[in-house]
């Protein structure tokens, strides 16, 4: 789902073409410029755009966001008058737009995301307890899917056209097309209900007291297995295809012929000489996937009732709790942008063709 398109997602790439693309087209070995300050500035602008969009959305869209909260007849009426005042103060709709924007930015810079209507707590404290779980889930899913797809991709390329390659392509293409929540429900039904190997919900056994810290970690890991598997499957396919196709493109290169003629062991040929070429497109995909991982974790967490941002967002949607929803979005966007920025900066360091100016 949300499948990002790969340069050569389907079918064999043309080796010459891919190599030409990687080396900067007909310009040959022309160095690509790397300007870290410009990159950082661009991401700062993006973050500003996100923050401003969040500010403008409820104000531009038709309707008064507070009317329902003030109307005793509506389902989302807030009974606590103090809470209602706090929400009204958060939006500050009686003041001029520029003043509202100014105090909104000032609040954000202090780490204040407003007041959650449905839970009557500051958004920042809700988010603080949830974000680590989401980071654990998405971070480990990105790492695991990277490792798996790299080895699977190199292996498939090495055995291209044979059954291992074909099976991997079919399985991973299917897992890319199927939404995360469908994969997650299938895993839940298979491995937590039909064969109850793993817990059905949560991140820890409720009310458990552990004899040792190690047992606590084990419990967390046991709860992590199924959500992690669901998220990993969705993330692996894209990177697998990138690695496979890049490696296939390198198989005919002169340096491969030479390395083979030297009698280098297969492992070195596969991972050092061939697989290494996939690192750059791989890392680019990793940056793009940070966003998909966060999106996918919202679904997976809701299926497994995992106590991360996903279940918080779900509750915010159900309660039409806009301040909470906005806070979650700004924070998730911040995390994703940071990950992308890190990838772009790393890209400049990794590619010898990229020259710092």
């Amino acid at each position: 789902m949300q499948a990002e398109r790969v340069q050569f997602a389907n079918g064999p790439p043309h080796p010459g073409r891919v190599v030409a693309e990687l080396s900067g087209g007909d310009a040959g070995r022309r160095p690509v410029r790397w300007r870290p300050l410009k990159t950082i500035a661009l991401y700062a602008v993006t973050l500003w755009a996100v923050v401003t969009l969040v500010f403008l959305l409820p104000r531009l869209l038709p309707g008064d966001p507070l009317r329902q909260l003030d109307d005793p007849g509506s389902g989302s009426f807030v009974y606590d008058e103090a809470a209602r005042d706090r929400v009204a103060a958060y939006y500050g709709l009686d003041r001029p737009l520029a003043a509202q924007y100014g105090s909104y930015l000032a609040d954000l810079s202090r780490g204040e995301f407003g007041w959650s209507i449905s839970q009557n707590t500051p958004v920042s404290s809700l988010v603080r307890s949830r974000l680590p779980w989401t980071l654990l889930l998405t971070g480990s899913a990105l790492a695991l899917s990277s490792a798996l797809s790299f080895f699977a991709g190199v292996t498939a390329a090495w055995h291209r056209g044979r059954w291992a390659d074909r099976t991997l392509i079919v399985v991973l293409a299917a897992s890319r097309a199927i939404p995360e929540y469908a994969i997650a429900s299938a895993l839940l039904i298979m491995f937590a209900v039909t064969f109850p190997l793993f817990p059905q919900a949560g991140a820890q056994t409720p009310f458990a007291s552990y004899p040792s810290p190690l047992a606590a970690v084990g419990d967390v890991l046991l709860h992590l297995v199924l959500p992690l598997a669901a998220l990993t499957l969705g993330l692996a396919a894209n990177k697998f295809l990138i690695v496979r196709n890049t490696v296939i493109a390198t198989l005919g290169e002169d340096y491969m012929v030479l390395a083979r003629a030297k009698g280098l062991p297969r492992r070195l040929l596969k991972y050092r000489h061939s697989g290494r070429n996939a690192m750059l497109p791989f890392i680019t995909a990793l940056g793009v996937q940070a966003g998909f991982a966060v999106g996918g974790s919202l679904f997976v967490e809701t299926i497994f009732n995992y106590p991360g941002m996903g279940t918080l967002v779900e509750r915010a949607v159900t309660g039409r709790d806009y301040p909470l929803l906005q806070g979650c979005f700004i924070l998730l966007a911040f995390v994703v942008l940071l990950a992308n920025l890190a990838v772009e900066l790393a890209y400049g360091k990794l590619d010898p063709r990229v020259v710092e100016r």
Partner: protein, 293 residues
């Protein structure tokens, strides 16, 4: 290519076996045909209305209820049939919206180099990195999440991939002889775009439309699953949501007829779209056609 074939562990090239491809396309078309039939005749096929009290709570499949009932006694089979509407409408509307927006940006960015192009590509990059699902949830929750509204928002967020692909196609078309000849003869921008660029983009746009449609189906159901959706519009995502929110779902065996059918319906539709899309891409994408002909 010969060097590769001689060197690689398997000498077997990867022939695009036309037979396999055709079967995938046939299967995909059959699946899509079934869903279109559900959309066309759904209201007559469904024995009950989606939120009608059709029976007792959690009746097992059989008798009057082909797929049983949910906790509130709604008929699952009817909800399933009527839910096809939301998914298919979003597929068509959001798919078309994504491609149209992408085409507008892509053609403008490809045809006008210099600052218009760089501004448009900056915006494209910006939209590309924003995490889309949280933003969709936020906007969907604010606007109410009707099928039409969601289609607009999905189109507004997912056009960059199509824009990039169509832009590079425009850039490549610009250098072709017939386009150069046309501009040499003094053809205006609009004439060149209309006569020489847009017809060439039409096929590629279809190839972009299909995956965009499949993605929109997954998104709409996902948003309904997370609670963003029109409560009066039956949808598979909302069915999954109701089922998962029922705490005793896995203690009873209700999940077999309550959770599994909407998930399967959704997966089958997405797989159908993907199969048709793969077949169409083989035929239509200039990138792949190049080394298959």
């Amino acid at each position: 290519m010969t060097a590769t074939a001689a060197l690689s562990p398997t000498t077997a090239a990867e022939p695009a076996s036309p037979r396999r491809t055709r079967w995938g396309a046939v299967a995909g078309s059959v699946i899509l045909g079934v869903y279109v039939a559900l959309l066309a005749f759904g209201s007559r096929l469904a024995p009950f209305r989606a939120t009608e009290l059709a029976g007792r709570s959690l009746e097992a499949p059989g008798g009057r209820h082909l797929l049983g009932t949910n906790l509130l006694g709604h008929d699952i089979a009817s909800q399933l049939i009527l839910g096809a509407r939301a998914s298919l409408l979003v597929a068509v509307l959001a798919g078309a919206g994504t491609v149209v927006l992408g085409a507008v940006v892509g053609v403008l960015a490809g045809w006008f180099p210099g600052w218009p192009s760089s501004v448009l590509m900056r915006v494209t990059d910006l939209v590309l990195v924003i995490p889309k699902l949280p933003l969709l949830l936020l906007v969907g929750a604010l606007t109410g999440g009707s099928v039409l509204g969601l289609s607009v928002v999905i189109s507004l967020l997912f056009w960059p991939t199509a824009a990039r692909i169509l832009r590079s196609q425009v850039l490549s078309l610009r250098t072709r002889t017939h386009v150069k000849a046309a501009s040499g003869f003094g053809a205006g921008t609009w004439h060149q775009l209309r006569r020489h660029i847009l017809p060439d983009l039409a096929l590629l746009s279809v190839a972009e439309f299909i995956p965009a449609a499949g993605r929109a189906v997954g998104l709409q159901a996902g948003l309904a699953f997370l609670g963003v959706g029109d409560p009066t519009e039956p949808s598979w995502g909302a069915m999954i949501r109701d089922a998962v929110n029922f705490r005793a779902l896995f203690i009873t065996s209700a999940w077999k007829w309550w959770l599994v059918p909407p998930v399967l319906a959704l997966v089958a539709l997405i797989v159908g779209i993907t199969l048709v899309g793969t077949a169409a891409e083989r035929r239509l994408s200039p990138r792949l056609a190049r080394h298959q002909r």
